[in-house]
Point group: C2
């Protein structure tokens, strides 16, 4: 993919669509576009957050590296998402790491430029607020899932989230390992394996050649429901 200017970019996030072309020229000057291979670390928790990351193409995980050598995946972002908005005006360093789950094209946009644009352009600011509020919403949903549901419910939530919000399809190439799924669902890797096997035996899902297929969505949703 050829590096093109922001003004001509047809992959703009909903936030950046709110910018004037003169403003896009500003972001264009203060940005770099980089390709990452699957597995590569894009941003490391604890390093200076000098840039906002735009997922122009690909799939990334946002995760915390805990002291006890475990990870917790906060969220999975796909094409069109902006990473780091919730740290603006707040954190000097990244409060989490970002890594590529598939080959990804990332635009790193200067943080101060973005903050400056928020100061200047209200429609942009409102768009950023909307985007942050969606993250907020996701975290609240996750909190309910983690506290109120048992393993099958938590895993079903994760799969439905992937199908609905991330891949936008009930059949998708599963770029997450069992360990990733575990770190995203708040459970152990072994429990993910067992629970997935259960889902497959019940014909709720199927998996071949790394492709996951949701066969019975309503059945899966039922499994995701709270115990009454």
């Amino acid at each position: 993919m050829i590096t093109q200017s922001c003004t001509e970019c047809t992959f703009k996030s909903s936030c950046f669509q709110k910018l004037e072309s003169s403003e896009l020229a500003m972001t264009d000057k203060s940005r770099v576009q980089v390709h990452y291979k699957e597995g590569e670390t894009i941003a490391k928790q604890g390093t200076f957050m000098t840039h906002i990351l735009y997922v122009k193409e690909g799939l990334v995980k946002i995760y915390r590296e805990n002291e006890n050598n475990t990870n917790t995946i906060y969220n999975i972002f796909s094409t069109g998402s902006l990473v780091g908005l919730s740290s603006l005006f707040q954190d000097e360093v990244y409060p989490y790491s970002v890594a590529a789950l598939s080959d990804s094209m990332i635009c790193a946009i200067d943080r101060e430029t973005v903050e400056h644009l928020i100061d200047e352009n209200n429609r942009f600011a409102v768009s950023v607020i909307k985007s942050i509020n969606e993250e907020n919403d996701h975290l609240r949903k996750k909190m309910i899932s983690l506290t109120m549901k048992q393993l099958p419910g938590r895993l079903a939530d994760s799969l439905l989230h992937l199908a609905g919000e991330v891949y936008g399809s009930d059949k998708f190439r599963l770029n997450l390992s069992r360990k990733d799924l575990a770190e995203f669902s708040g459970m152990s890797t072994m429990s993910v394996v067992r629970t997935l096997q259960g889902f497959m035996k019940e014909k709720l899902i199927a998996e071949n050649q790394g492709s996951l297929d949701i066969l019975d969505k309503s059945g899966l949703k039922q499994r995701s429901g709270l115990k009454l």
Copy 2:
């Protein structure tokens, strides 16, 4: 407490301090101030979110009412907090309920007025973004606590949060019941009781006449740490 205008109010949130007096006059016109007694519901999940709530004085809990007749407390807010910012431009109805944990004075400010001010005043918008990002941060912390820690760690986190962020003191009147603590820490009421007893036996905390005293803060912090 006498109802006074926003312009004269000395209890302004950090967000509202960014407003010009002409703008404060706008909020003043579109606001009502109401006193709630301990236990009263201030806003009900599912009802139209026509107002942003400002905690002028008191203590409130923000919680989700689940289908299976249980609650999950997202957060506890005290004097000076704005409730509902993360629903602006996003939710038509409250995604959670709000209730008073102590007698509280609440200003209800017209939502459209606030959204309009965000559109117009950039410093205000930035201040709102900061505030939402703090919520976001809290939810991420909570997510780590819930997934990576066992009961003592989770409860210690909650107590430290109360002392540090909510009450601003290591000794405070505990306005939360054991059930509230359970709903805030993702555990059962009985486990809260047992774990608190444990903390008291170890002289980490003490409780008399509803007042909670953190005796050994570093000990409690140690309990809050992840298992290595």
